[in-house]
């Protein structure tokens, strides 16, 4: 080693003599090397140690402290073995080679999307996104896009227990959602999104806990669930039919409501009429009876006279009204010759009246 350096130094000096230390294109070493060689010259071997140690100390020293962000936790491993967790702020550790720190964001939720941008990911099966097409429990096909938000709740478990947590999370989300949807009818898939999200969240969390993946599911959000595009029209038909059904029923109810209250009113009127009739009838009866009784009382006092008077009064009223009047002798038995129905009657009448008076 020693003689190599000597040789190099000689070469160096040769170059310096030839080129005048200008550092031309033929120069095999950068100018800093001069300083190092000068140092070698001056300090000899202890200088090498000091130089190396200074560099090493600088390098290792810079690796003994680190900052952990507010949303992070640092996981410190000593010789690969988990040692401690470092909380946010300035932290110290043993230098590189002994301790290693991995910072894990434990607060900010991450998002994984499934079949949300259906148009972007045309699958091998056609236009609809493969990850959102699912078989429902009644063996229909539904389109179920969803989003999983998760947080790395346990940084230690997250780092050490599962090889590729994101991949596990994606695969497990799909498997879970399909299991949940596979137990529900297409109607339930479309109308009960919240319930499905809840069930999927519980199931997925259980699976991840089981794998000790250190992941906490923050939320599962179901996007608009639907049926595949070719079937959508017929589903809308059903909704329309439901509307039609309601409408038909409302129409009939309207007719009912139009007719029945009116009939009730009319019925009430009929009853009131009858009641009116009854009151009228009874009142009249009572009136008639009172009148009769009053007259009867008077009549009872002088029967013959009153009777005659009443008879004659009536006759007095009646007779003037009558147009044709014939007075026949009680002895005359046959009245026919006298009766001449028609105009002649008046002449006869006149004649007989004059004659009678």
């Amino acid at each position: 080693m020693n003689w190599d350096w000597e040789k190099l130094r000689e070469n160096q000096q040769k170059y310096e003599k030839n080129k005048g230390g200008s550092g031309g294109p033929g120069m095999p070493r950068p100018p800093q090397m001069d300083e190092i060689f000068n140092k070698f010259k001056r300090f000899k071997f202890p200088g090498i140690f000091i130089g190396i140690i200074v560099l090493l100390v600088l390098y290792l020293g810079s690796s003994t402290f680190f900052t952990v962000d507010r949303s992070e936790v640092g996981v410190v491993q000593r010789f690969g073995k988990f040692n401690r967790l470092a909380q946010p702020g300035l932290n110290f550790k043993l230098p590189t080679g002994i301790e290693k720190v991995t910072k894990v964001n434990v607060r900010t939720p991450e998002t994984e999307e499934f079949g949300v941008r259906a148009a972007d990911r045309a699958g091998a099966y056609g236009n609809a996104s493969e990850s959102s097409l699912m078989l429902t429990g009644d063996l229909n096909v539904g389109v179920v896009p969803w989003i999983v938000q998760y947080r790395r709740a346990d940084p230690r478990a997250y780092l050490f227990n599962v090889k590729d947590v994101t991949s596990l999370l994606r695969n497990m989300s799909e498997a879970t959602m399909r299991t949940i949807v596979g137990d529900r009818s297409i109607n339930e898939v479309i109308t009960e999104r919240a319930e499905i999200a809840q069930a999927a969240r519980e199931m997925l969390q259980a699976e991840l806990d089981n794998a000790k993946a250190g992941i906490a599911i923050v939320n599962i959000e179901m996007k608009r669930t639907n049926v595949p595009e070719p079937v959508q029209a017929s589903f809308n038909q059903v909704n329309q039919a439901i509307q039609e059904k309601e409408q038909t029923i409302y129409k009939a109810k309207e007719e009912y409501n139009k007719a029945v209250p009116l009939a009730r009113g009319e019925a009430q009127r009929m009853i009131k009429d009858a009641e009116g009739y009854a009151i009228d009838r009874v009142n009249r009866a009572q009136g008639d009876a009172a009148k009769f009784l009053a007259v009867f009382e008077a009549y009872d006092l002088a029967r013959d006279v009153t009777r005659k008077r009443m008879y004659l009064e009536t006759m007095g009223d009646v007779l003037p009204k009558i147009g044709a009047k014939y007075i026949i002798d009680a002895d005359q038995k046959n009245v026919l010759p006298l009766l001449n129905l028609g105009d002649g009657a008046s002449t006869l009448q006149d004649r007989y009246l004059q004659k009678g008076e």
């Binding site: 080693m1 071997f45 690969g80 988990f82 099966y125 056609g126 699912m134 078989l135 429902t136 429990g137 063996l139 229909n140 096909v141 050490f160 227990n161 090889k163 799909e174 137990d183 297409i186 109607n187 109308t191 070719p230 079937v231 017929s234 038909q237 059903v238 039919a241 439901i242 039609e244 059904k245 409408q247 038909t248 009939a252 109810k253 009912y256 009319e266 009929m270 009429d273 009858a274 009228d280 009838r281 009866a285 009876a289 009172a290 009769f292 009784l293 007259v295 009872d300 008879y311 004659l312 009536t314 009223d317 009646v318 009204k321 009558i322 044709a324 009047k325 007075i327 026949i328 009680a330």
Partner: protein, 322 residues
């Protein structure tokens, strides 16, 4: 040899020592386990605990294997179910190396381990999927499902009506049980490779293209039938309401008629009683009075009256004989 040369030699020795120590020491991460081999042959127990470890430098070699949960992704395949429906099935599995020595001897690296998993899980999946009807694979439990949209006023009635439809699929095993059986089939064989198969999950199931089209047609037909059913229900309900209306109208009218007639009848009876009471005092006088009234009303201008001189009115016509 001068002092300078001694110092250089010292440095050289130190460097060599450092290299030896560096090769002898090895770090095992939390996620790793190590099998030590000497000239290709395994020596000693595998290192499974993380931390700093030592081996014989240069002659011993470290072979690192993963200790954490690993993933296997199945290739989607087209499998007919027992009811002859062709479906695409995409599975994934989780596994770990539980016996690194056996693993090292039989499969050596993860790439060939994945190959073994392919060879064992895929056939097991095919076996089980093709021996059950589709419903068993899709469904997990025999949870009753609401297969028709049930809302509006008549939900309850419909529930009852659709009860048989709800239990249309009886599920004996369900997806979980079938995947457990897939695991059971492959697990034992994988143990020979030092691999523990943790689970197999069905990631995706879908109809193949041609089946899907007919399923869509079926869905459309089913929906149309449901739509028709709703319309018919609407019309039926409307007819029912109209019938109800007619009935109610008849009832209201006849009820009113009944009440009216009863009221009138009672009034008539009461009136008759009043008349009878009053006129009963002297029926003959009543007859006289009524007759008088009758005369007054019945005889008019164009009536012809023939009076005999015998009558009370004209009795004095011929004279006032006593």
């Amino acid at each position: 040899m001068n002092a300078q040369q001694i110092k250089v030699l010292g440095v050289a020795v130190l460097v060599i020592l450092a290299v030896v120590v560096y090769d002898a020491a090895f770090i095992v991460d939390e996620t790793e386990q190590v099998v030590i081999t000497q000239f290709g042959r395994i020596t000693g127990e595998p290192v499974v605990e993380p931390g700093l470890n030592f081996k014989m430098p240069f002659i011993q070699k470290t072979n690192y294997f993963a200790k954490n949960l690993l993933e296997w992704d199945g290739s989607p395949g087209q499998i007919p179910t027992r009811d002859k429906t062709y479906i695409w099935v995409d599975t994934f599995a989780r596994w770990r190396i539980t016996d690194p020595l056996t693993y090292f001897q039989t499969v050596k690296d993860e790439f060939s381990a994945q190959k073994r998993l392919d060879d064992l899980i895929d056939p097991a999946t095919r076996n089980l999927i093709s021996s059950y009807p589709l419903a068993e694979i899709v469904r997990n439990t025999d949870r009753p499902m609401d297969t028709f949209e049930g809302f509006g006023a008549d939900t309850e009635a419909k529930m009852e009506e659709e009860a048989p439809r709800k239990v249309r699929y009886t599920v004996n095993l369900g997806r979980d049980e079938i995947t457990r059986r897939i695991v059971a089939q492959a697990k034992e064989k994988l143990e020979e490779f030092g691999i523990e198969l943790v689970d197999v999950k069905i990631k995706r199931i879908n109809y193949i293209d041609s089946v899907r089209r007919s399923v869509y047609d079926r869905m459309i037909a089913e929906r149309n039938q449901i739509a028709e059913k709703f319309r018919a229900e609407g019309r039926g309900e409307a007819s029912n309401i109209r019938g109800e209306k007619e009935k109610d109208l008849q009832e209201i009218k006849s009820e009113a008629y009944k009440v009216a007639q009863t009221t009138k009848g009672k009034a008539d009876a009461q009136a008759a009683g009043i008349y009878a009471d009053a006129y009963g005092k002297d029926p003959e006088f009543y007859a006289f009075l009524k007759t008088m009234d009758l005369y007054a009303q019945a005889l008019e201008k164009d009536s012809t009256l023939i009076l005999s001189t015998d009558s009370d009115v004209m009795q004095f016509m011929k004279g006032v004989a006593e």
